[in-house]
Each structure stands twice: as structure tokens, then as C-alpha cells.
Symmetry: C2
Subunit: 186 residues, 2 copies
């Protein structure tokens, strides 16, 4: 199995750091891409990309993952919008957390599907979303889309893992949640 | 204020991703260093370092932060051991989580001070530690040292932040914990 992370300047790394770890630990191959060769995340580490975005083909991947941050002005770039549409056209899993959901909205793949996001009435992004379909829950799985609020980063990681069937069984899934909540005992 | 993150091949990024974020959000300057120009973390992102380790001077920093992972063979490298000793000689805050505590043990700075670590009876590292001083708690603050078990990454980030006095008040500190536990309401 293979996962593609789309990163961008100022992305929020803790929203996806559990997910990249869990995927790698369960044997999923990981690639990173961005609109430039290098980006600096919100915690100020510099990340060097594996892939040029033009070279990324949805055929090669099982899931696309997009973290939060400040998507503007990247949310207007056709290279990422078309990549998202390519994943959606093939019904591949697309997962986005916090501000990451703005890319899905801008690409037009949300359509009339339920979504979660931490973006709330921000005039920069508001016009991309149709509030009618905003979910009441902090993680929303709707067809091939998995979206979440930033604070639900543990639940988001587990929801994506579950969709990709990387957990051995229900016990493994529950233990993962409790470990990352620091509530695993015995 | 200025923080130095020591990274190494295969380090566990989610153990320190909240911390680098919180520090940056509160205006702390962040530098990364390693034994090489680039390392790949446990979630497979490639990180490019800001600083050559030989150029790092404890005088320039307020805190040194070391994540977990598999410290062997890096734990035997004098460049990082001497850097840790330099921070300790000046009484600067040194924080390490999970396997990161093995670097402090190997550098000899734990002495007879209480520590936390997720390393448990691993023959590779066991001889570095003196079990008598292993803490019962998952985060331990002892003089200038802050150490933690990996699963306590939220509590670790907040303990380091508290030591550096980056929280406005007790309410700010408590809200940070609850936000990252996804338990903040109202």
C-alpha cells in the first residue's frame, strides 16, 4: 500500500505526525509532495519532498493526506486541485484535517458530502464551503473522503488507518487510540 | 528565547511535533541539528537541518530537546554527548522523551537524578541507566532535566512549555492540555 502526503509552507505537522508514523509502522510506503522542493512546517522544521507534484499519479497511491495550516494562497494552485480531482475520480481515499479540508472544497470534490474542518467563518475560505453539509462530528467519513477538526488528530489517524484496513483487529484499533491518548493501562 | 532540537535517523516525530508547534506559536526561535545534514523520521519525511552540530553552542539556547526513536548507534557519538554536557554544565533545560533519555544517560548527565523513559530492559541501553532513579511518573522534572515516556507527549510538551514560562497563565496551560487531548469544551 502507498500513501501520498501533500505538504505546504506552514502546514501543521502534529495533525498528521501520528498518521505517517502508524502508516509506516504497518508497512505502508510513504511519499511526500508539495508545490516546491522544500517546505517549512508550523513547528519550523524544513521538509525535503520525495516527489515533484507533476510526477504524482493517483494510480500509484491508495490514499492522499492533507494537513491543516494556512492553505491560502496554495489552495488556488491548479496542480494540487487537479491532483485531488484525480484521486476523487478514481474513488481513492482522500483525507484532510483542519484547514486541509479547504483544498477539498476548492477542488470541488466535497460536492454534497458531509465534511469536518476547523475553519469557521474565515472569510478567506468561507466561499469554498457549503455549510449545509458541515458535519456535527469532529471526524467525518463520507464515501472516499475522511475529514476532521485539528484537535481530533488522534481520531483522524485511526479513522484513516481503519479505512485502509491497517489494524489487525478491533483490539489493535482501540489500543492505538488509548496509547495516543495516554490512557492505555495494563 | 531559542530552542535547539537534536534529531537523528528514525526519530519519532509525533513525540515532539506538539512541542515545536507550541514553542513557535509563542515566539520561541527554533533550530534543528543532527549528526548529518538530513535525517528521515519514523514517519518517513526527510528533514533538512538548520545547524551543523559542531556549530551549536549551548550559550545561544535556552533549551535542548531530544525525541525518541532508536538512539543506537548515535548514542555513542561524542558530538551529541558533549553538546548535552555543555547544556548541563550551564544548567540549561534539557528535555528528552522516550528513547531520547538514553542520550542523557549516555552523556552521564542523569547522575542521581530522577528520569522517565519508555526504554524498559532493552539490553542495548540498559547499562546506561541506573534503575534506582527511574521515576514512577510518565513525565519527570528534576532540576534542569525534563524526561518523559513516549505516550506522554502532550504532558511532556506542556511540562517543557511551563518550565520555559511560555504560558500566559494557568488557564492557558490547562486549555493547551485539553485541546491536544481533544477534551476542550465551551
Amino acid at each position: 500500500m502507498k500513501a501520498l502526503f501533500f505538504l505546504y509552507e506552514g502546514y501543521v505537522d502534529w495533525e498528521i505526525s501520528l498518521l505517517s508514523y502508524i502508516l509506516n509502522e504497518t508497512g505502508v510506503e510513504i511519499n511526500t509532495t508539495a508545490l516546491s522542493d522544500e517546505v517549512t512546517h508550523k513547528g519550523k522544521f524544513k521538509i525535503k519532498m520525495d516527489m515533484n507534484i507533476e510526477a504524482c499519479n493517483p494510480n500509484d497511491y491508495d490514499v492522499l493526506i492533507i494537513p491543516g495550516g494556512e492553505p491560502d494562497p496554495f489552495v488556488k494552485d491548479d496542480r494540487i486541485l487537479n491532483l485531488i480531482r484525480g484521486f476523487d475520480d478514481q474513488g481513492k481515499v482522500i483525507s484532510a484535517i483542519c484547514g486541509g479540508s479547504a483544498f477539498l472544497a476548492a477542488a470541488g470534490v466535497l460536492r454534497e458530502r458531509k465534511y469536518s474542518t476547523s475553519i469557521d467563518d474565515d472569510p478567506t475560505y468561507k466561499h469554498y464551503f457549503n455549510d449545509t453539509f458541515k458535519s456535527e462530528t469532529d471526524v467525518t467519513v463520507c464515501e472516499n473522503l475522511i475529514t476532521a477538526e485539528g484537535n481530533a488528530y488522534v481520531e483522524f489517524a485511526v479513522a484513516v488507518g481503519k479505512e485502509l484496513k491497517i489494524f489487525k483487529d478491533r483490539e489493535d484499533e482501540l489500543e492505538t487510540v488509548l496509547f495516543f491518548k495516554n490512557q492505555l493501562r495494563g
